[in-house]
C-alpha cells in the first residue's frame, strides 16, 4: 500500500544524500520500526511518506497515488488519513488537552467551522472516547504544558487517532521518555494498531522496543537501507553494523 521507488533526498547545500536510492514496499497492517543512528535518515524517510519532505529523485506511492504529484488539496486529503506523532509531541501550548485532541480534525473541516471552533457532537464524542481510551479523561480540561512527557505523548496519539487514520507515523515518539513509559506508549500504539488494522511506521532508538513490537524492522545507515527483515533476523552482527562508529578515515573526508 506504500511503496518507495528509488527515493533519494538530498538537502539543499548538502553533498551527501539524507536518503539514498531507497526502494521498498510496505503492506497494509504492518508494524514497522525503523532503526538507525542519529542522522541516518529516519526522520527524512518518515516525512517522505506524508509529503512533508519533497524528493530529489524517485517516487513515493500511497494507495496507488504518487505523493509528490498531488495537488495541495489532494495532499491535504492524503495527510488526513495519516496520523503522526513526534519526539517533542508538538502539541499546541496554552490549549487544553481536549482542544489539542480536537485539532486532529482540522484537516477534515471547512475553514469557517475551524475558525469558529464548530465541532460536531459526533467529533466531541469521538474526542471523549479517545481521551478515555488513552487514560486522559481527568486531564481533559488541563493545559497541555502542565502534563508529563508520557501524558503529552498520549495526547499526541489521541490527536492522531482523531483523524481516524489508516496509517500511523511516529518520528522517535519515545526518544525523550523513560523506558517504562516508552514501553507503555508502544503498548497503546500496538493496541490501536491491532484494533484498527493501522499500518504503523515508527522510528526508534531502542532496539529492544523494536524487537518486542515490530512485525518488520528496517535499518538505515547514512541514508541507505542496510537491513529489512523480521525482528528475529536482527542478529548481533547486523546490530553492530547499524550502530558502529564511522571509521576515522571516512570521517576525515
Amino acid at each position: 500500500m506504500i511503496s518507495l521507488e528509488n527515493v533519494t533526498v538530498t538537502y539543499e547545500k548538502e553533498t551527501e544524500p539524507a536518503l539514498s536510492d531507497l526502494t521498498l514496499r510496505i503492506e497494509e497492517g504492518e508494524f514497522i520500526c525503523v532503526l538507525g543512528r542519529s542522522g541516518a535518515g529516519k526522520s527524512t524517510f518518515i516525512r517522505t511518506i506524508n509529503g512533508l519532505q519533497a524528493l530529489t529523485k524517485g517516487a513515493v506511492y500511497v494507495s496507488g497515488k504518487e505523493v509528490g504529484q498531488l495537488s495541495e488539496k489532494e495532499t491535504r486529503r492524503l495527510r488526513t488519513g495519516m496520523g503522526m506523532i513526534f519526539q517533542h509531541f508538538y502539541l499546541i501550548p496554552r490549549l487544553t488537552v481536549k482542544q489539542n485532541v480536537l485539532t486532529g480534525r482540522l484537516g477534515q473541516k471547512k475553514a469557517y467551522q475551524n475558525l469558529l471552533g464548530l465541532f460536531s457532537e459526533q467529533e466531541i464524542k469521538q474526542a471523549d472516547y479517545y481521551l478515555q481510551e488513552l487514560g486522559l479523561t481527568s486531564f481533559a480540561d488541563r493545559r497541555v504544558e502542565h502534563l508529563s512527557g508520557g501524558q503529552k505523548q498520549r495526547v499526541g496519539i489521541a490527536r492522531a487517532m482523531m483523524q481516524e487514520p489508516y496509517i500511523l507515523l511516529g518520528d522517535e515518539p519515545v526518544a525523550s521518555l523513560d523506558p517504562s513509559i516508552s514501553d507503555s506508549i508502544f503498548r497503546l500504539v500496538r493496541t490501536l494498531h491491532e484494533q484498527r488494522h493501522l499500518t504503523t511506521i515508527i522510528n526508534v532508538h531502542d532496539v529492544d522496543l523494536a524487537k518486542k513490537y515490530a512485525t518488520r524492522i528496517l535499518a538505515l545507515k547514512k541514508g541507505e537501507l542496510i537491513f529489512d527483515g523480521q525482528p528475529s533476523e536482527l542478529s548481533d552482527e547486523v546490530y553492530s553494523l547499524i550502530y558502529e562508529e564511522e571509521s576515522l578515515n571516512n570521517r576525515a573526508f
Binding site: L78, T80, N114
Partner: protein
Amino acid sequence: MVWFRKRLIVYVLFIALAVLLSALKVELSFVALFQLENTWDFIQRNFWPLRWELLPYLLQQSLITLSVAFLGTLAALCVALPISFLAASTTSASKAGYYAVRSSLSLVRSVPEIVFGLIFVVSLGLGPFAALLAVFLHNVGVLGKLISELIEAAEPGPQEAMKSVGSSRRIGQIFSIIPQIWPNVLSHYFYRFEVAIRTSLVLGMIGGGGLGQSLMNYYNSLAYEAMATAIIIIMILVIVVDIMGGIVRKRVI
C-alpha cells in the same frame, strides 16, 4: 579583565563624540539648569489652588481621550493581526509579498502620529476622529511589526503537526501560532494603549479634542490652575490604565 576588549575603547570614544555633538546641537546650557528654580517657582505660584469644580467636565474630556486611544489601538490590533502573518518570513504568502507588506508597515510606522494628526485635522476637520485615525494608522505599523516578530519566533513544531493533520496552510498557522503568541500580543497591545493615551493628549493639543485640547485651551488663556487640574487628571488616568493593564496581563499569562 575578561570582558575588556581593545575595540571597547573605540566604541567609548565613538559614543563620547556622539554625546558631544548632540550636546552642542541642543544647546545644552548649564546656566539654564540653575534656572530650573524658576520652573519650580512658576509651578508653586500659578498651579494652586486646583480648580476642582472643573472635575466633571475634565472627566468627560478624559473619556474622549480614552476612547480615542482605545478605539484607535483596538482597530489597529484587528487590522495588524492578519497583516502580520503576511509580514512574517515564516508565514508570508510569497517573498515579494513579504517585502511589500513589511515595507508598507515600516512606511506607516515611520510617520509620527502628530504628523498624521496635523494632516487629518486640516483635511477632515477638528475633533477626536482625526486623532483616532492618526493613532490607528501609526499603530497598525507598530503592532504589525511587533506581532510579525512574535510569529517568526513561534515554535515551528506545532505548525508541522498541523500540516501533518492535513489542515490548510492558513488554518494550521492560525491554530498553532495564535495560542502561543496571544499573551505577548496582549502585552504589546496594552503597552501601545498606554502610549496612545499620551499620544491622544498631544493630538488634542493640535485640535484632536479631549483632555489635551482642554489643557491647551487653559494654557493659551493663562488659566494655569485649570491646567494643573487637567495635568493631575492625566496622571491619574495613565496610572489607572497602567494598573489595569498589569492585572489583565497577569490573568492572561
